[in-house]
Point group: C5
Amino acid sequence: MNLKLRPEKYFRYLHLPGLFGARRTKEILSVNPTIIPLREEAHEVAVFVFDYDANSIEEKNLPGVEDCFAYKTSGHTTWINIDGLRKPDVEAVCNHYAVHPLIVEDILSVNQRPKMEESDGSFFCLLNMLYYDQDKQAVNHEQISIIMGKDYVISFQEDAIQDVFNPLRDRLKIATSKIRQHGSDYLCYTMLDLIVDNYFVVMEKLGEQIEEVEEEVVRGNNPRSLVRITQLRKELIVLKRNFSPVRELMNGFLRSDSELLDDRTIKYFKDVYDHIVQAIDLVENYRDIIVSMQDLHINNVNLKMNEVMKVMAIVTCLLAPATVIGGVFGMNFDAIPYLHNQYGFWAAVTIMLAIPVWMILMFRKRGWF
Amino acid sequence: MNLKLRPEKYFRYLHLPGLFGARRTKEILSVNPTIIPLREEAHEVAVFVFDYDANSIEEKNLPGVEDCFAYKTSGHTTWINIDGLRKPDVEAVCNHYAVHPLIVEDILSVNQRPKMEESDGSFFCLLNMLYYDQDKQAVNHEQISIIMGKDYVISFQEDAIQDVFNPLRDRLKIATSKIRQHGSDYLCYTMLDLIVDNYFVVMEKLGEQIEEVEEEVVRGNNPRSLVRITQLRKELIVLKRNFSPVRELMNGFLRSDSELLDDRTIKYFKDVYDHIVQAIDLVENYRDIIVSMQDLHINNVNLKMNEVMKVMAIVTCLLAPATVIGGVFGMNFDAIPYLHNQYGFWAAVTIMLAIPVWMILMFRKRGWF
Amino acid sequence: MNLKLRPEKYFRYLHLPGLFGARRTKEILSVNPTIIPLREEAHEVAVFVFDYDANSIEEKNLPGVEDCFAYKTSGHTTWINIDGLRKPDVEAVCNHYAVHPLIVEDILSVNQRPKMEESDGSFFCLLNMLYYDQDKQAVNHEQISIIMGKDYVISFQEDAIQDVFNPLRDRLKIATSKIRQHGSDYLCYTMLDLIVDNYFVVMEKLGEQIEEVEEEVVRGNNPRSLVRITQLRKELIVLKRNFSPVRELMNGFLRSDSELLDDRTIKYFKDVYDHIVQAIDLVENYRDIIVSMQDLHINNVNLKMNEVMKVMAIVTCLLAPATVIGGVFGMNFDAIPYLHNQYGFWAAVTIMLAIPVWMILMFRKRGWF
Amino acid sequence: MNLKLRPEKYFRYLHLPGLFGARRTKEILSVNPTIIPLREEAHEVAVFVFDYDANSIEEKNLPGVEDCFAYKTSGHTTWINIDGLRKPDVEAVCNHYAVHPLIVEDILSVNQRPKMEESDGSFFCLLNMLYYDQDKQAVNHEQISIIMGKDYVISFQEDAIQDVFNPLRDRLKIATSKIRQHGSDYLCYTMLDLIVDNYFVVMEKLGEQIEEVEEEVVRGNNPRSLVRITQLRKELIVLKRNFSPVRELMNGFLRSDSELLDDRTIKYFKDVYDHIVQAIDLVENYRDIIVSMQDLHINNVNLKMNEVMKVMAIVTCLLAPATVIGGVFGMNFDAIPYLHNQYGFWAAVTIMLAIPVWMILMFRKRGWF
Amino acid sequence: MNLKLRPEKYFRYLHLPGLFGARRTKEILSVNPTIIPLREEAHEVAVFVFDYDANSIEEKNLPGVEDCFAYKTSGHTTWINIDGLRKPDVEAVCNHYAVHPLIVEDILSVNQRPKMEESDGSFFCLLNMLYYDQDKQAVNHEQISIIMGKDYVISFQEDAIQDVFNPLRDRLKIATSKIRQHGSDYLCYTMLDLIVDNYFVVMEKLGEQIEEVEEEVVRGNNPRSLVRITQLRKELIVLKRNFSPVRELMNGFLRSDSELLDDRTIKYFKDVYDHIVQAIDLVENYRDIIVSMQDLHINNVNLKMNEVMKVMAIVTCLLAPATVIGGVFGMNFDAIPYLHNQYGFWAAVTIMLAIPVWMILMFRKRGWF
C-alpha cells in the first residue's frame, strides 16, 4: 500500500499541492517500510558551490556531493546548493556538517510546515518556494531547506526547474556587491528575501485572476464564476498556510541573540519580516474581497434568474384572462348574449386586449416592472 | 437509571464517539452508585512487559498485573503495557507505583479531555488514539494513558484490537536501535510520536472522503452531498477537539524542567509538537475547504433547480399566446372575420407559431436562455 | 414602577432565566427604593449545620440563623447551609463572620455573574446551580454563594427544592471518608465539584434534545425544527454565560497562594478546573453541531419545497401543448384540414400525447427529474 | 462649510448619535476655523457645589463658574458640577485646577471615545451617560467628564435634562451615609457606579424591544420585523462601542497605584468593573439572540411565501388536465368517438374530476401537502 | 515586462489604490531590472524649507535639494518638505542626513505598509495620506515619509496636489504658537496629527455614502444598491488596512524612550494614538452596519420579488377554474345538460365568477394576501 501517492493524487485534483500535511520518513517506522514509503528520490542531483570573500570567488559545478566537503575548511564563506533530494547525498552532507538527524528527516520529507530551528553553531530553516502555474491556474510549491553556519550556507531544493536563486548568482560575481562584503548571514538573508519577494509575484498573478473574476461578476455573464471563486479561495488558503509560519520563522531570526547574526544584518532580516507581514495582510484582504465578490455574484445570479421568472410569470398572467373570455364565448349554450350581434366578436377581442393593458398599467404603478 | 449508556447511544447515532465529555467515576459519588455507574469493566486484561537496557532485553506476557511488580527494582528500563481496563488491576498497579488517586480516576473514566500532569517523580499523560472506521465512515477513538517514571513507562489501553504500538515492539528487539540506547523518556516520546503520526493516517482517510465529496459537488449529481458534508464537518469537530489539547500536552513536556527529560530527548518532543501543530493547521484548512464546498454545493443545487424552473416557465409562457388565439377563433360569434376565408386557418396557425418564435428571439437577445 | 418584575417576565417568555444581568440592591439607591426594589424575600428559611472533625460529627437543623453563631468557636470544621435568602438573616450571619458589605449585596441580589473573591481570611464564590426543566424544556438556575474561612464554610441557596448537596451529607456521616480527614478547603472543593458535575447532567439532557432534533432534521419531517434549533441555541448561550466565569473562578483558586488552601487540596481544585474547561469545550462543540444542523435543515426544507414546485411546473408545462392543439382544432374556421378525415381526431390526440412523452424523454436526458 | 452639522444629521437619521467619532476642536486647526468649527456652545450653564466632610455640608447653586474657585482651599471635599459646556467657563475652571490643555480639549469636543487618564495629582475620565428615547426608539447619550483630585471632584455634563446624579445629592445630605465618611475617591466611585447602573436600565428597555420583536417573529405576522431587528443590531453596536472602553477605564483605576485611591475604595471600583464586564457580556448575548432571531424570521418569511406558492402551483397544476380534456372534446373533428353517446359528457366530466383527485392522493402520499 | 503597471491598472478598476502590496526597488534585483522596475519618477520636485526657533523664522522655496543641506547646521529646528519623489534627490538628502539605505528604499517604493522605525538619532515613519475622490467615489492615497532628527524633520510626499500641511505652514508663521516654542518632536506630532485628523474627514465622506445607501435600501428602490454596498465594503478594507498599522506606529512612539521625544510631547502623541484607535473602532462599526444593511437589502429584494410572484401566481390560479368551466361547456357532446336552457350561460358565468371570489375569501382568511 502506497499511501504517499494518494494525497498527491488528491491534491492534484484540488490544485492544493501545498496543503497536505507532513508525511515524514521516520527512522522508527522504517522497520515497516510499506506503511509510509520514503520520499521519491530525485533522478539526478546537481551540486554547485560558491566559495567567496570580498576579494576572491570560486564557482564550481560538482559531480557529487562528496566533492564539496573540502570547502568546509576553506576559510571563506561557502555556499553549497543541492538541487534534487537523494537520501544518501543529504545524509552525507549533513553528517559532514554535523547536522542533527531530525533535521535531515525534515529535509527529506515532503509537505513540511515552514519552520526554523536554531541549534548551537547553526540555523536551519525550511520553507516553500511558490510558483503560479498558468496552465492549471494553481499555485505550486517547491520545498527549500537552508542550513546556515558560521561560514557556510547549504541549500537544498527539490528540483531546479525554475531557479529563484539565479539573480543571487549574478550578484555574487560582482566584487563590489554588498553580499561579497558580508558573511554567511547576509547570504542567508538574501535567499530568504528572494523567496519572500517571489511570494508577491504569485500574489500579483492571483490579483489578476481576482480582477478577471470580478469583471465577470460585475458583468454577471458567467455561471461558472462561483467555481472560479471557490478555487481562488482555496489558493488563498494555500498561501495563508505557507505565509503564516514564515512570519514565525523570520521572528525566530529577529529574537535570536546568536553570534552568527551580525547586528547590521538583523536590520535586513527585519525588512523581510515586514514584507511577510505585508503579504499576510494582503492575503487577508484578498480573502475579504473574494467573499464579498461571492456575495455579489450569488445575488446577481439570483437577480437575473428572478427577472426572467418575473417576466414569464407576468406574460402568463396577462394572457390568462383572454383565455377565459375565449372559453366563455366558446361555450355551446343556445342563449349566449351578443353572439349574434354584429360587433360581438370585436367587443370580446377588445375586452381581451383591454384587461392585459389595464393589468400592465396597474403593475407599472406598483413598480413591478 | 443508567446515564452512561445514553451518551454512547447518542453518539453512536451522531458518529461522534469522541465528543461527549467526561463522566467520571468519583469517590464521592460512589455512595450513590446509581447516578453515575462505573466504567464498564473489560472482559479480559492482557499484560506484557519489556525490561531492557542497551545490552539485554526481556519480553513477557504476564497472566496478571501482580506479576509485573517485581520489575520495579530491575534496574533496567521497564515498559508495562496493559490492554483492557479493570478497576482492581489499575488500582493495584498504580498503588504499587505510588500514582495519585485522581490520576487513577482519570485512567478509569471515559471520554476524558487529553491532558498531561507532572508530579514529583513522574509524568502522566492521557490522550486518544484515533481510528477511521471505514464501515461507519466515522472516526473512532481509544483512550490511552501513559505514566512515565524514572526507569519505567506504564501504558493503559482500553482494548487491543488495533495495537498502534506494534512497530515499537519490533524496534525494541533490535539492540542497536536508538530506543535501546536511551531511557524511559525516549520510550515515552516514541509512543506519543506513534499516536500523533497515526492522526495523519486518519486525516488522510478524511482527505479522501473530502475528495470524493468534492468530485460529487463539482459534478453536482448527488442531492445527499450536503448530508455527507455535514458529517465531515462533525468528524472535523471531533478531530479538533482531540488535537488541540494534545498541543497543550506536548507543550507541557517542552516547558517542563524535570530531570526525567534528557536534554537530547527534548528535541524529539519538540518534533512531535511540530507535528501536532501541523495537524491542527490541517484540520483548520480542511474546515475552510468544506465550508467553501458547502457554499458551492448549495449554489449548484439552486442553479440546477433554477434552470429547470426557468425552462418550464418559458415553455408555459411561449404556449400561452397560442392558447389565446385558439380561444379567439373558437368563440361562437356569428361575425368572426376570416372564419370563412380559405386561408384563415393557416393564417391563425402561422400567427400562433410566429409569436413564440418572436418571443424566443427576444428572450435570446436579452440573454435569458 | 417595578423594574425588577420585567426582566423576569421577559425571560420566562424567552426561557432564558440565567441571561439577564445583575440588578443589585444598592445601599446608595435604597434612598429611592421605588427604582430598584429589593430581591423578593424567601418565605421560609431552612438552616442546617454540620460540625465535624475526623473523630466526631454533629448535625442539626436549626430554627433560626442566630443559633449557628455558637459554632464559630467550636474548634471543628463547621458547615452552615442556609436555604432561602432573607436580608436580615444574611446580614446577621455575615456580620457575625465579618464578611464585607459588598459581598452581602452580591449574595442578596439576583442574576449575578459567577465570581470569586479572596480577602484576608476567607474566600467568597458565587455561581449558579443549573437544572434542566423537562416541562418547559429550558435550563433553570439557582444562585449559590459559598463563603469559606479557616474552619468554616457557609453556603447560601435561593431555595432547597432540588438539593445538590445531598450526596455530600451522606458522605459526611462516614467517619473514614476523605472529607472528614480534611478541612474546610476540601469541603469547599467537594461542593464546587458537585455543582460542576451537575452541569454535565444538564448538558446530557441538552444532548438528548440535540439528538431528537437531529433525527427530525435528517428525516426532514418537521417544519418547527428551526424553532427548536433556535431555542437550543439560546439554551447554549445560557450555559456558556454560566460556564465561562466559572473557569475564571476556579482559576482564582489555583492562582491563590492563601494559607487556607492546603497543597494537597489544590490538586483537587485543578481537577474541577479541568472539568469546567471540558464543559466549555463541549458547549462550543454543541454550538458548532447545532449551526451545521440548522444549515442542513434549511437546505432540506428548500430541497423538498423545490421538488414539489418542480413537479408542479413540469406537469403544467407538459399539458400546455395539448391545450394549444385542442384550441387549434377547436377554432371555427371553415377550412381546417383533416377535420373531416376519419382519423383526424385520433391523429390530433396522438400528437397531444406524443409531445409530452417526447418532452419527458428530453427532460430525463438532461437529468431534470 | 460646516462639517459638524453633517454627522449629526446623518446619525439622527440612523439613530446612532453615539457612533460617530471624535471631531475635536484643535488648537492647530483653529487658525482655519471654517474647517472644523467649535462645539456648539451651551445656551446656559448651571453650576452647583457641594462642600462637605463627615460633620458639615454646604450646598450652593452658583451664578458663575468663578464663584466656585474659593472652595479649592476649603479643606473639605468639594464636588463642583457644571451642566452645559461653554468654552470660556471650562477653560477658567480647568486653569484654576491646573488641568492639562489636552484634557480641556477632550471635555469640549463631542463624540469622544470613553477614556481615562491619570496624571500627577488627578484622575480624568470621560464617558457617556446613555438614555433610551422611547419616542425614537433609539439610544441617546450625554457626554460626562469627571476630574478627581485630592479633595475635589469636578463633573461636566452636556446638559442637565435628566440628571443621573440626583440620588447622589439626596444621599450626600445624610450625615451618616458612607459617602460622607469617605473622600473624593468614594464620591468619584459613586458617580461611575450610577452611570454604569443606568446602562442596565437602558439594556432592560432594549430587552423589552427584543421581547416584542421575538413575539412578532414567532407569530410571524409582521414583514417589518427585519427592519426592527436591523435597528436593534445597530443600537447594540452603539452600546458595545460605549461599554468596551469603560471596561478599560475602570481597569485603569484598578491598576493605578495612586495615593488618591484609598485601599478600601479600590474594592468598590472592582465592583463597578464587575458590572461593566457583565454589561458587555449581556450585549454579546443579546447580539447572539438577535442574530438567531433574524435567521428564524427570514426562514419564517420564506416558509410562508413557499406555502402560498405551493398551493397556487398545485391548484394550477390540478386544473390543467381538465383544460386539456375540455379542449379535446371541443375540437371540431367530424369523427370524435362518444360525442353522440348519451353519457359521453358525464364520462368526460368524471375523468376531468378523477384526474385531480388521483393527483391529490398521490401528492398526499408523497407528503407534499 | 512591466509588472508594476498591472497592479495599478487592476486597482484603478477595483478602486483600491491602497490595497496592493509593496513592490520594492531592491538593490539585489536591480541586476535584473526588467523584473521589477523602479518607481515612476516624479516629473518635477518642489522643495521648501522652514528654519525656525521661538524668535525667528525663515521660509524658502528652493530650486534643488542640494540647497537645503546648509540648514543642517543652522542651530534652529529645520523642516524640509519635498514634494515629488526622484531617486537621486532622495538619495542625496538621505546621504546628507545619514539615513540607512533600507529606509531610502522604503521611501522610494510604492504601496508600503505604514511603519515606524527608530534608529539611533532619528525616527522614521511612513504612512498614507487618504483623500476621498468624489468623482470615482473611491478613497485615494498618497504616501508620506517623515524623518525626524534632533533638530530637523524631513518629509517626502508623492506629489503636492492637495497639501495637508498647509494649516501647519500658517501656524508656523505665528511666533506665539506652541509649535514655535517646541522642537522637532512637536513638529512631527503636528504632522501626524494632521494626517490622522484627515482620516476622519474621509470617514465622514464614507459615512455620507453609507447614509445614502441606507436611504436607498430602506426605500428599497434601487437594484444596484448591492454593488454600492460591495464597493463601500472594499473602501472600508482599504481604510482598515491603512489604519491598523498606524496604531502600531503611534504605539512605537509611545513605547520609545528616546531622548528625542520630550516628556511633555509624549502626551500629545498619546492623543494621536487615541484618535487612531477611535478611527479603527469606527471602521469596525461601519463594517457591522454595512453588513446588516446588506442583509436588509437582500431580504428587501427577495420580499419585493416574492410579492410580485405571489400576485402573478394567484391571478393565474384564480382564472384557471373559469378556463376549465369554459372548456366543459365548449365540448361538442350532443347531450350536455342545461345547454339549451335559457339561463344556462348565465349560470355558467356565475359559477366562473363565484369560484375565484370564494378562493379569494379563503386565501384572505389564511392571510395569504
